[in-house]
Amino acid sequence: MTSRKSVLVLGGSSDIGRATARAFAEAGYDVALAGRDVAALEPDAADLRARYNVELGVHTFDVLDTASFEGFVAGLPALPDVVISIVGLLGVQESAQSDLAHATAIMRSNYEGPSLILGLFAEKFLDRGSGTLVGVSSVAGDRGRASNYVYGSAKAGFSAFLSGLRARASRGSVHVVTVKPGFVRTRMTEGMKLIGPLTVEAPVVGAAILRAVEAKSDIVYVSGKWRLVMLVIKTLPEAVFKKLRF
């Protein structure tokens, strides 16, 4: 009997985190959920145990507490096969323009924390000679837009980090996936005006991440339409782009 594969989901209590954990549990992975509030993760853990009869652990993880990262990794019962970072903070662009603390929280939650923790796991994976790292970045990182450039720039930094890490780690049999979900109907986007045909539900993202891990994809736009939309947005001349307010 071969031992089962294991996955660690950082940001496990978010809607995309839940959906991703569920997709992997359904596929037979043992799952560990990590988040700031372990008590909030427990109902999701119980749900997956009841559904799929898999091993399920929960761990405290705060993406802003970078000093705790080494202890967090060392404290895991075993080094997982797959680590997925879903943590992030959308924040409020208008506040972030003048509130430095809020802007800092957005930058650290979307860039600094996720990059450092995946970087740490990358070293462990390279030592072992196997493993897959998944970073959930955003189409917002493809080009800074007037309406969300604080968030977008942090995601751009994260995407760049993942890109470089992928190039380096691929020589050591460690794979890195960048996921760009586009609009997803979740708690984070509740109340936002989302464009229907460009919007997906969280389970679609979970399934796409599972597929990307199994197929060893590099960069995944959850909906193919977004690749096209972002291609257009990326190729607009700056003189035109700067007049847009979206």
Partner: protein
């Protein structure tokens, strides 16, 4: 405010829609004039709050499952489709499967939904062991047959009016496979159909589809579908023990124009359906549970076939004695009218579980009508026939019955209202349906 309707898309009303993420937030969400909503499969105004509607589908976690007993504890927003897909492959299915699998557990309890096995195995409520209810007064109570039993039996079939169902403990059925051994019987008229259903009393599942375009000597001609759970030894070679449930892909993308359904298209459809079914009659074959239990689920948004004005489903139950004559009279009027649609279902029911549960021993007939012309008057006349025969209408399908029809059909309304009052003295839990049929004026 949000415009909301039930599955029949009639009536469409304004309500404040809230989507709480935690049980604590449900408490804050309940104001005077609130009702909980599951997956919106009730046809009329049952799951629309008088003022505010609390969407429960976000509460979709399983708490625990005990494979030794088949008992499961879950949040009220879990869908039946989710239960089937998750636990079917592990050898467990809900005991009661209604005509659509896209209903929430909370909704299934509130409507005490029935399936094709009601005549012998009862309704959804029979397999509910306990319910975690947030009453209108704000109290959290666990209600079961032993504890808070008044609240328990008022909540089963109580249309969400006793409070917000948060969690429930159910019993699941152990099955070997997800396949059904189906036998189709063709019946040339109503008498033959009723005889076939009576003869099918011993079958676990039985239902008749009626060609409601047939008239004269063909009135009530039907196809009767009997079913049993298939053991592993009955499966076709190579078949998986549990079939995959395909999610409906492209369904009805737009509201069809009103002329789509007319007496000619309905007649043609019914004729074709009857002939195709009759060809399969006689033999026994093994079919996946999905087409057997949920034939319409394969067409996403089939309710749009009726156009944007929506449709009404009229589902009555008539006590066994004298049912033949009343059913004949109803079908005769419907056939003469000509616009009843392709969903006409006849089946036998047994005793209901809750105080306000729809089923009673007899025959239930479900008919669909597009909302147009004098349909409301026509249905009022049908109601008079139903009431005179000691029957009643299914609240989960209802959008238009009168208080008189309700009170004649449900003699337990005063008792139900008294329990409701005890749980919710201020009358916070109120829906559009309760305003229409239950609440003081």
């Amino acid at each position: 405010m949000t415009l909301v309707s039930g599955w029949g898309r009639f009536p469409v009303v304004d309500t404040e829609m809230l989507r709480p993420r935690a049980f604590a937030a449900v408490a804050d969400a309940v104001v005077s004039g609130t009702v909980a909503r599951g997956n919106g499969r009730a046809y009329g105004d049952a799951a629309i709050g008088a003022v505010r509607t609390v969407a429960m589908t976000g509460f979709d976690r399983i708490r625990w499952f005990d494979p030794a007993t088949g008992r499961i504890r879950l949040e009220a927003g879990v869908l039946l489709s989710d239960l089937i897909e998750t636990f079917g492959p592990r050898g467990f299915l809900p005991f009661v499967l209604p005509g659509t699998r896209f209903v929430s557990i909370g909704g299934a309890i509130a409507a005490d939904v029935h399936g094709k096995n009601h005549h012998c195995e009862g309704g959804f409520g029979r397999y509910v062991d306990s319910i975690l209810l947030r009453t209108g007064e704000g109290e959290l109570i666990e209600a079961s047959r032993e504890q808070n039993s008044d609240a328990f039996f008022a909540t089963i079939g109580g249309m969400g009016l006793t409070g917000v169902i948060l969690e429930a403990t159910l019993r699941l059925r152990k099955v070997e496979t997800g396949w059904i051994r189906e036998r189709v019987i063709s019946a040339s008229d109503l008498d033959a159909a009723m005889r076939a259903l009576d003869a099918g009393d011993a079958a676990t599942y039985s239902v008749a589809w009626i060609d409601c375009a047939a008239r004269g000597k063909d009135l009530g001609r039907s196809l009767i579908y009997l079913g049993e759970h298939a053991g592993k030894d009955k499966l076709p070679a190579g078949a998986a023990a549990f079939p995959a449930g395909k999610h409906p892909g492209l369904g009805v993308p737009i509201d069809l124009p009103p002329m789509t359904l007319n007496r000619f298209s309905i007649r043609a459809f019914n004729e074709l359906y009857y002939r195709m079914g009759a060809r399969r009659a006689g033999g026994t074959h093994v079919v996946s549970l999905y087409p057997y239990f949920f034939p319409l689920d394969s067409i996403a948004d089939w309710n749009r076939i009726y156009g944007k004005r929506g449709f009404l489903q009229h589902q009555c139950v008539i006590p066994e004695n004298g049912a033949r004559d009343v059913l004949g009279e109803i079908l005769g009027r419907v056939a003469r009218r000509g616009d009843a649609s392709f969903l006409a279902v006849l089946k036998k029911l047994g005793q209901g579980e809750g105080i306000l549960s729809f089923p009673l021993p007899g025959y239930t007939l479900a008919l669909d009508f597009p909302v147009r012309g004098d349909i409301l008057n026509f249905l009022d006349e049908i109601d008079r026939l139903v009431v005179a025969a000691g029957g009643r209408l299914y609240l989960a399908k209802d959008a238009r019955q009168s208080r008189e029809t309700l009170e004649a059909g449900y003699p337990a309304v005063p008792r139900f209202n008294a329990i409701r009052k005890a749980l919710d003295p201020a009358g916070n839990i109120r829906s559009k349906l309760s305003q229409r049929l239950f609440d003081g004026v």
